[in-house]
């Protein structure tokens, strides 16, 4: 149970600002663990190489997730239909995206099903689009995908490419009320070893524990950055946080004025997740690296939508999984893939 609190914090951080409030997911996971017992976490090597592993996510709008909470059956319905139509039996579940409620809600489902969770995911962070995974880079197909709501409505869809999977998945999610449980990227244990990001859950837990210590005053931000090979981007007060919608894509721009030097101004551009950090025309950090905003006072990661003028924040960068830095990785999830006409640069430590 203490793991859950740490995972909550780690998952918020790895969401790079895009997670929204996670209380409900935390409580749902806790309840499932209380009812069904702890969830074993295994590595892909613990399974037979041809054992089936099924990643799960929730898709939808964070504001809907906190109001029209999951019924708790969505992921189960999605996995059941997958097994039924494909005629397979899943040996282990996997979090599709090690961020936000996509860490906590799959834990609840794994507890309910009595299946282990694999210590891996497909991104090692949060991304807006489900085709932005290392699986896509490796040529692994997201299709088929099952999408389910709380009513028991479920679709099993086959698509020709991962981008279409994302597009259709999102369409269906909208029709279902902007929140749905999804199972996709069916893998064998061997494929997880070959193409997945290994150790994601452990990483998330570890990060969360550091954040807990930071919040209690037992550790410093510098310790955390040293441990994660991260970098300090900026410390300052928010002077503006505005959001616009371009082609129905939200774009948020957060402007901070320097704490120690009020002549310095940094801008963060986000589309749900924080994607670019710029100071004086110089790119300080950019996707696929993670850009996180922490409350200067207690080290808590702040979601983009809750940033308000006057807040004192530390902006930091965490390195993405190494595989993202390949040419193909940058093409799939780098700045240009998100609509920014700039090139990827690694942040300074």
């Amino acid at each position: 149970m203490d793991d859950l609190a740490a995972l909550n914090l780690g998952a918020t951080m790895l969401g790079s600002g895009g997670t929204g409030e996670l209380t409900h997911a935390h409580l749902a996971a806790r309840r499932a663990l209380e009812e069904f017992g702890p969830v074993p976490v295994c590595t892909a090597a613990d399974l037979a190489p041809d054992a089936w592993v099924l990643p799960m996510y929730f898709l939808g709008a964070p504001v809907v997730a906190i109001e029209m909470l999951p019924g708790g059956t969505e992921l189960g319905t999605a996995v059941d239909m997958f097994e039924r139509v494909r005629g397979i039996e899943v040996s282990a579940l996997m979090v599709g995206e090690v961020a936000g409620l996509n860490v906590l809600l799959p834990i609840a489902e794994a507890a309910r099903r009595g299946l282990p969770l694999i210590d891996a995911d497909t991104m090692r962070r949060a991304f807006t689009r489900t085709q932005m995974t290392l699986m896509t880079l490796a040529g692994v197909r997201a299709s088929p995908i099952t999408i389910a709501d709380a009513h028991g409505n479920c679709l099993y869809i086959e698509t020709a490419d991962n981008q279409t999977t994302e597009m259709i998945g999102r369409s269906v999610t909208t029709a279902m009320g902007h929140i749905a449980g999804v199972a996709t990227y069916l893998l064998t244990a061997q494929e997880v070893i070959d193409h997945g990001v290994l150790g994601s859950l452990s990483y998330c837990l570890d990060l969360g524990r550091y954040l807990q210590r930071l919040g209690q005053g037992d550790s410093s931000l510098d310790d955390l950055l040293a441990h994660t090979d991260g970098g300090r981007l900026f410390t300052g007060a928010v002077i503006d946080a505005t959001s616009t919608s371009v082609d129905r894509q939200p774009e948020t721009v957060i402007t901070l004025r320097g704490h120690d030097d009020d002549q310095r101004v940094m801008r963060i551009e986000a589309q749900n997740e924080n994607l670019v950090a710029i100071e004086d025309g110089e790119i300080l950090a950019v996707t696929p690296d993670l850009i996180c905003l922490l409350d200067s006072q207690n080290g808590r990661p702040i979601s983009t939508e809750s940033v308000q003028a006057g807040m004192h924040l530390d902006a930091i960068a965490l390195p993405c999984a190494e595989a993202w830095r390949s040419e193909a990785g940058i093409r799939l999830a780098g700045p240009r893939a998100h609509g920014y006409g700039i090139d990827y640069v690694e942040f300074a430590r």
Binding site: G18, E21, T23, H24, L27, A28, R31, L59, G60, A61, P62, V63, V64, I66, E67, M68, L69, P70, G71, G72, T73, L105, A108, T128, A150, H151, G152, R170, T173, T174, G177, H178, G217, A237, A241, T242, S243, T244, S245, R248, P250, T252, H259, D260, N272, S296, Q297, N298, E305, S306, Q308, G310, M311, H312
Partner: protein, 515 residues
């Protein structure tokens, strides 16, 4: 003609009373220990502070107390609540009351049910309302609950169904069982709003007793005034509003001293520390208002989405016990628990010369090393409190308030100056006496349908209305915060808009009253 204001602040150790003029000048003040039944201390305070003051000049009276918080934490004096949620089959992953402490659930135990109903973000129903279920719920509640809450998914945006169900329940159960509709508490976020509604229903008897007791005490003292209660952001609401929405009074005790700091010093930006008998609070003033924490308040471990000011609490105060080595015992009940005459922080402060003995008598003789060690450790705690609260590296002024404010040293590293205003001991009551009224709004607007300007205009107007309903003077209400957050992954331009408005209390024209 502007009248006088009387405020009573019931803290965990002391009950403070003040009389303040319209220009915020303190006319009279009094401090008395808080009594097990708070009403006794309130009467003592009112009596003392009115000696030498013409009671008929009091036009507004405020009450500030931690009773609401205490009642919820202890599960004491609460109503039995029937909890109805509309949204099945969604929301079942976290049932109502899940996060509540078992002893409190027991105290408020009634029936809880989740029925089909509620809405999606776009207003389409999650499932048709289960009318039969509502009637079954009403039957189950009959005779076994004192109050009911109804919480429907997306009710802040689509309140009609909640209202319809509340009306059915009122008809079935009769007027003696009040029904709270969650949309009146206005916030998006199902669990937090549901919890706030439940807390609201559970606290009804607590507030009713508190307010009627206060009104009776005022009446007996010859005061006929408009009565207010402070709420959790330090602004006030009319007493009958507080009885109707008691959840708003949770956590109101601690914040008043921060407001008090503004009145007493005229500073708009400062660090404020209020040192009480058993605990100390630190907060930040920015632009004359306490900084909002931004996070929902957790009450007795239960998440709510109440607007809460940013306060850091430390478990030391004037009554904290100091042991033989000079170590200050943090937490615990301090002097109240010690059976023999224990050495307290106040004793140490007196012995060191930082303060004069509050009772005028000489305290115990203390070893120099003990005094030195205790002072050093308390200074460390104070510095730590400052650091946790102030995130700006630029030095701020520190305003020291509270009964034990005098043991804050004149110089503290990291702080540009330490100010200890006159009347620091009753700063909380002064904050309550000079409080303003506020109102807010939190909802989703579809900018595609109404346009951003029209939406913000509407939101501002609604916030101003809310502030006026709370008692603010209509021509002096100002908007203090507007935030817009986009709703992601949803088609169309949808924004969650939050607006807060504040204004000085509507003045009562005393001369027009018939006597």
């Amino acid at each position: 003609m502007n009248g006088l204001r009387l405020a009573v602040d019931v803290g965990s150790t002391n009950t403070d009373a003040v009389v303040v003029a319209a220009d915020h000048r303190v006319v009279a003040s009094h401090k008395t220990p808080t009594t097990p039944d708070p009403q006794d201390g309130i009467r003592v305070g009112i009596g003392a502070v009115l000696s030498g003051v013409d009671a008929t000049l009091i036009t507004q009276a405020m009450l500030s107390t931690t009773e609401s918080t205490n009642a919820l934490v202890e599960g004491r004096g609460l109503a039995r609540v029937g909890v109805l949620r509309l949204g099945a089959p969604a929301t079942l992953s976290v049932p109502p009351l899940y996060a509540w402490a078992p002893h409190v659930v027991k105290a408020i135990s009634g029936t809880a049910a989740v029925l089909a109903g509620g809405f999606q973000m776009d207003g389409s129903p999650i499932a048709p309302l289960d009318h039969e279920g509502v009637l079954r719920f009403a039957a189950a509640c009959t005779g076994s609950v004192d109050a009911i809450t109804v919480c429907g998914v997306f009710s802040p945006d689509f309140p009609d169904q909640e209202e319809e169900v509340a009306e059915i329940l009122r008809v079935e159960l009769g007027p003696s069982v009040p029904v709270t509709s969650s949309h009146q508490l206005g916030q998006l976020g199902l669990l937090e709003r549901e919890n706030a509604s439940i807390a609201n229903a559970a606290l009804a008897p607590v507030l009713t007793i508190l307010v009627s007791g206060f009104v009776a005490a005022l009446h007996d003292a010859g005061v006929e005034a408009q009565v207010y209660v402070t709420q959790n952001d330090g602004t006030v609401i009319a007493a009958d509003e507080a009885v109707r929405l008691p959840v708003l009074t949770i956590g109101s005790g601690a914040i008043n001293s921060v407001h008090g700091a503004v009145r007493l010093t005229g500073l708009e930006d400062a660090l404020v520390i209020d040192i009480g008998g058993a605990s100390s609070n630190a907060g930040i003033l920015t632009g004359g208002l306490p900084r909002d924490s931004g996070y929902g308040a957790e009450i007795a471990g239960v998440p709510t989405r109440l607007r809460m000011p940013d306060l850091v609490t430390a478990q030391f105060g004037g009554g904290s016990v100091v042991d033989d080595q000079g170590h200050v015992q943090l937490g615990g009940d301090g002097v109240r628990l010690a059976r023999r005459r224990a050495v307290t922080l106040t004793d140490v402060a007196v012995a060191s010369g930082r303060m004069h003995s509050p009772s005028g008598t000489r305290g115990p003789r203390l070893a120099t090393s003990l005094v030195g060690e205790a002072l050093a450790s308390i200074d460390r705690e104070l510095i730590r409190l400052c650091e946790r609260t102030a995130s700006s590296r630029a030095s701020m002024s520190l305003v020291a308030l509270g009964g034990a404010a005098r043991f804050v040293p004149v110089d503290l590293p990291g702080v540009s100056e330490v100010i200890r205003p006159e009347h620091h001991a009753v700063a909380s009551a002064i904050g309550a006496a000079t409080a303003e009224a506020s109102g807010g709004i939190d909802r989703i607007y579809h900018y595609d349908d109404v346009g951003r300007d029209a939406a913000l205009h509407d939101a501002r107007a609604l916030a101003v209305d809310a502030a006026i309903r709370a008692g603010a003077s209509a021509d002096a209400v100002r908007i203090v915060a507007v935030t817009e957050a986009p709703v992601h992954y949803a088609d169309g331009t949808n924004y969650r808009v939050r607006v807060k408005a504040i204004g000085p209390l509507q003045e009562v024209d005393h001369t027009s009253d018939e006597r």
